[in-house]
Amino acid sequence: MAQLDTRQKLEILADAAKYDASCASSGSVKRDSRGGKGIGSTDQGMGICHAYAPDGRCISLLKILLTNSCVFDCHYCINRKSSNVRRARFTTDEVVQLTLAFYRRNYIEGLFLSSGIIRSSDYTMERIVEVARSLREDHDFRGYIHLKTIPDADPELVHRAGLHADRVSINVELPTRAGLERLAPEKDATRIEGAMAGMKRDIVDAGDATRRYKSAPRFAPAGQSTQMIVGADAATDRDIVTRAAGLYGKFDLRRVYYSAFSPIPDASAVLPLKRPPLMREHRLYQSDWLMRFYEYTSDEVAAAADDTTGMMPLDIDPKLAWALKFRDRFPVDVNHAPREALLRVPGLGTRAVDRILAARRWRRLALADVGRLTVSLAKVRPFLIASDWKPVALSEKADLRSLVAPKAKQMELFG
């Protein structure tokens, strides 16, 4: 095989990495490059998306694999052993130089490095860690680093990954055990969860140490995340929401990413040919938001799904679906209801709710006031009481759904 140059390798190894949905550069500690020898800064808050691809996804990090060769044969994966994609492998220095060259030009926030498993889990993990070490120690790079860790690797190696990285992640891959058995026969749900538990322990320990000694080494300050593929196994939305809630609870995850399975070149026959609508993925993210920011329990979110099929409606968002199902909880009085009740009102975001709470300490709010705090008054109106508004007739209407649901429009191009 002819030698590949860096750009050709990048083409292969970025293509191989794009099925990982995460590209976040958020939630780390504040760092900058002043007084250092290198470049880079991070923030505690949200990260920066330096570009968006036509798939609507944020490009924040240089997201690549070290190599797309792999000893595993996971059916959903373009890099599986039996796939006949072109293979490539970066050297440590190639990744380091590429990261720095992109970073200097303000293309990226940092690096998200993953890899196919070559030789052994330990060997692969060691190569991944070496890239991060070189960036941090040889080049004093202070930008964002996200490393994928390998469940079977030596815990000591995984620990070293956390010392260099802002964020670490291990993918649970599929929402159900049965799905994992079918589609990733060499992976093991118990080992994956065991590795996540170990990572959580390290993060908690390092957090304790940092509180006691300022100089204690940082360990994955942006925490850990995971990803599930949606639509490749038989999991319903209810199953997925329940699984995600379990993962958040057990492992203190910062994020669970949902990736609608999409066709890959050279797919395995075991993989379903039909992909789920992208809207399904969107509804799952909205469900996730309800749990993380809107104080819904996972059971409550699951209740928004259809009782029999366990699927979220595609035409309306899960918060609206929940409200239409539990109409006795509405209308909510914007001038008196507690925060948690206001958070349930379709169309009111967390920021609008906080502003309502602040404003109503000083005066009673009318419907027009709410209108200035939210995007769609039409959506909010049936569920709210304001000083000049009572929606009695509206909420008793049987066709409430058609009144508040968005007008049917053409779905995304290939939705």
């Binding site: 140059d5 860096t6 990048l10 794009k18 099925y19 900058d32 490059s33 002043r34 250092g36 470049i39 880079g40 800064s41 920066i48 998306c49 330096h50 570009a51 968006y52 691809a53 036509p54 609507g56 944020c58 997201k63 380091v96 130089q97 590429l98 720095l100 060259a101 200097r104 030009r105 080049h139 159900t176 799905g179 079918r182 589609l183 038989a234 319903t236 199953d239 999409s262 066709p263 070149p265 797919a267 026959a269 075991v270 379903p272 040919l273 039909k274 259809d306 029999t308 099929t309 366990g310 699927m311 602040a358 404003a359 300490r361 000083w362 709010l365 006031d369 709410v370 995304e412 290939f414």
Partner: protein, 506 residues
């Protein structure tokens, strides 16, 4: 009428000092004209206000107002200083006003501040540096000569690294100082007066680099130690390209997934107005144009090549189905009854759901209806061993009456929950003809209610591809009370099976 002249468009401190004096003098906001140095040279200094001495008096203002004003003064809206003055007068009169985000005036200024914050964020995101040698072999721009003192010893001209894109991407051997002979220059066109407010971010991030940011209103330069500013520039002052851009475009094109085009989501966060200074955006039209074709090729390839391990795929699917909990029927049924037969069969029959005997045996069509079905197949000359038989719903649904389990019809939700499995089976096997036995199977396969009497006896296109036929369920024949009708319906059933099977030979 008072005229206040501020030093610059982003002169928040000047505005604050001036407005303090105006408030202390109780000048109404509509009696003040705000201008920025050079706005109107004719009337400059006409009614100029002296700077207010610090000891003239003071009043306190909520912190939230100061923060809001600091952002809003950067907006390009010309009335911003007057609007902020007017709001300040109200804030001093109405305690709590700053907490009332529903107030139209607060809302308006919050809107200005929000636009400024967004512009600041987008500048951090979409600004692109280009690398040039430092000092430049020839001045690459008129406005931005090196900000270093001219008596400094000239740095030796660094070798311009060969960006051989076929080879290494790195600029130099891997040391921390490998960009020391370089300078990074960006051209950016912000909407608001944010450049100086945003400079700290770039210094924090690129402290060890030499860089310049050129904008129409102002230029800023960082030499590794000091930040200096110069006049506005034009796009022609900025370097034209950078060989690394080709590598970056390769990345942009490769990280894009053509199977999930969402142009709206991209445009919402990256509006077209930013595109002209971002090299990668030149690729967007062709990426979108080629996406659908690329996805179709992927699906077609997958369809064409599956076959080598359909058997394994089917077995894996059945194993997964054994643990199905997509609806509640698994709770009372004995087991999942999956489809059965050769996976390369061209003819597939889909029934409603397993019955009492199928539930116990774990096999489809073994009870009374199955025996009726076998008789009909034999009559139609079809070998059951060569067809695949499955059900729309894979768990037995029943009502317990005494010791008997009475079949109960699956509802629309259960059919829909279970459709996942039959779709997977058919997608794997890709039979030429699929026959729906009864209304439940027809509903599952076609995704809508089909009237058997009207639709039987002719082929229909299945939503997932292939040809679908519709006929009655064999249990219907068992339920007919009189012998005559049963004989007649059985014959019609056999005719339907024959017609469907004939399509195999056509």
């Amino acid at each position: 009428m008072r005229i206040v002249t501020l030093e610059a468009e982003d002169d928040f401190d000047g505005w604050r000092d001036a407005v303090r004096g105006l408030v202390l003098d109780q000048v109404p906001p509509d009696q003040v004209v705000w201008q920025v140095g050079g706005d109107d040279p004719g009337e400059l200094f006409a009614g100029q206000m002296p700077v207010v001495p610090a000891d003239r008096g003071a009043f306190s203002v909520p912190r939230a107002f100061i923060d809001l004003a600091r952002s809003a003064t950067l907006h390009s809206e010309r009335q911003r200083f007057a609007l902020l003055h007017a709001l300040l007068v109200r804030v001093l009169r109405e305690p709590g006003l700053m907490e009332d985000q529903a107030d139209p005036q607060v809302r308006k200024i919050e809107g200005l501040a929000k636009a400024v914050r967004r512009d600041i964020h987008k500048m951090r995101a979409f600004l692109r540096f280009r690398e040039v040698p430092h000092p430049p072999a020839q001045p690459f721009q008129r406005c931005c000569a090196s900000p270093e003192p001219s008596d400094a010893p000239p740095a030796p001209p660094p070798d311009r690294p060969q960006h051989n894109l076929g080879g290494r991407v790195g600029e130099r051997a891997g040391t921390a100082q490998n960009s020391s002979g370089m300078r990074y220059v960006a051209w950016f066109e912000p909407e608001h007066h944010i450049v100086r407010a945003n400079a700290g971010f770039f210094v924090d991030r690129f402290a060890t680099m030499r860089w310049s940011i050129l904008t129409p209103e102002i230029s800023i330069h960082w030499d590794g130690k000091r930040l200096t500013q110069g006049p506005g520039a034009s796009k022609a002052d900025a370097p034209e390209g950078d060989p690394i851009e080709a590598v970056w475009k390769t990345y942009y094109a490769s990280i894009f997934n053509p199977a999930r085009v969402k142009v709206g989501a991209m445009l919402k966060e990256m509006p077209r107005k930013y595109w002209k200074n971002m090299p990668e955006t030149a690729l967007i039209p062709e990426l979108i144009a080629g996406a659908q074709a690329r996805e179709q090729v992927m699906v077609a390839t997958a369809r064409a090549k599956s076959g080598d391990n359909v058997e394994a795929a089917w077995a894996a699917l059945r194993d997964e189905a054994m643990q199905c909990r997509r609806c509640d029927l698994y709770k009372h049924a004995t087991q999942t009854v999956f489809g059965e037969g050769p996976v390369d069969a061209d003819l597939v029959f889909v029934g409603e759901q397993p019955g009492d005997q199928e539930d116990l045996a774990g096999k489809p069509f073994v009870g009374p209806a199955g025996q009726m079905f076998d008789r009909a197949l034999a009559e139609a000359g079809i070998d059951r061993a060569r067809v695949y038989v499955s059900n729309a719903v894979k768990h037995f649904k029943f009502e317990q009456r005494g010791k008997r389990r009475i079949h109960s019809k699956p509802d629309a939700g259960e059919i829909s929950a279970c459709r996942w499995w039959i779709e997977q089976e058919l997608a794997l096997m890709k039979p030429r003809v699929t026959v729906a036995l009864g209304a439940t199977a027809a509903r599952s396969l076609f995704g809508k209610v089909m009237t058997i009497s009207r639709e039987r006896g002719r082929p229909h296109d299945l939503p997932g591809g292939g040809e679908g036929w519709i006929t009655v369920h064999p249990s219907f024949l068992l339920r007919l009370p009189d012998e005559e009708a049963r004989r007649e319906e059985f014959a019609k059933f056999v005719d339907d099976l024959k017609a469907a099977a004939k399509r195999m030979r056509d």
